[in-house]
Subunit: 176 residues, 2 copies
């Protein structure tokens, strides 16, 4: 890819998982921008089944990540956003659509973070039942609300160079 | 959101589903850029289970969309990218992770399209069994390869103004 093209796509190509954060709060304006970006994702039949738990409280962040292996950095993040899906709101009440819609929404938030000077990482919850049960309990989630992932967000305290995971072996032309 | 912030996030906030295309080919360089963007998405345990069928042939595009309701514009698109997941490659062979990873990848491609002057729309395949079976047959997909969505892409022949689907009712603080 030539340099001009690669610069143009930099928000997408240079996204990396950021797991180390400065001890610095994130303004409500930026949190609002992250949520706007999340809700700008497409969803099946425009059902927008995403729901958000915005967590700033350090004790709650620590509690949430107790059952998230590899998610301990959440306790040191300025912000956690747990993205949930409402199965009752999803197109045809299908889990598949709910997961697809929420994942597009999560990716929008991940791409937006560095545009705001922030770093973020996607911490998986679904389909691990023990994580779902834990989040349901500590966040008081209603039955139809399924936590899909937690996003840890903060001002980055690490720099990661862009890298490509492009694999031409994954690309087929016209048919498999 | 103030204007400066909103401009900064414009690639994400102004994305719209584009369903009408000019009769103009897309260069291999741009197709390559779209695929690089897709593969820059995060995936559970970096398993990168996404696989791509890149379709330029008009007859094949027409065949693919035969079983995609609301997907007839694919026959008039310059390009179709069918994003599939390899269930054998996905983290813990979990369909949920495979869907989440592929959806983040699809969203990257959708956001990249307008940065390249292109327009795109996400056409749902999974979990509709009749669509999966049709795609499996016409694209000769192996058993573990599950088509998640088809993306129709072309130079836009319609303009859609940005719109916000932000809903503050979807946002909860600290807990539900």
């Amino acid at each position: 890819m030539d340099r001009e093209l690669s610069n143009k796509l930099s928000p997408i190509l240079s996204r990396r998982s950021i797991r180390s954060y400065q001890d610095k709060e994130i303004s409500n304006e930026l949190i609002d921008a992250l949520l706007h970006a999340g809700m700008a994702a497409p969803s099946a039949c425009a059902k927008d089944p995403w729901r958000f738990i915005v967590i700033r409280d350090k004790a709650m962040l620590g509690t949430v990540c107790e059952k998230l292996p590899n998610g301990t950095m959440l306790a040191r993040a300025a912000l956690g956003v747990v993205v949930c899906g409402d199965l009752n709101a999803a197109h045809s009440n299908q889990l598949s659509y709910m997961l697809q819609d929420c994942s597009a929404c999560i990716e929008n938030i991940l791409i937006t973070a560095p545009l705001l000077g922030l770093g973020a990482v996607w911490l998986g919850i679904h389909p691990r039942q023990e994580r779902i049960d834990h989040l349901r309990k500590v966040l008081s989630l209603p039955h139809a609300i399924i936590p899909v992932s937690a996003i840890a967000i903060g001002y980055p305290d690490e720099h990661k160079a862009p890298r490509s995971r492009y694999d031409e072996g994954y690309v087929h032309n016209e048919k498999w």
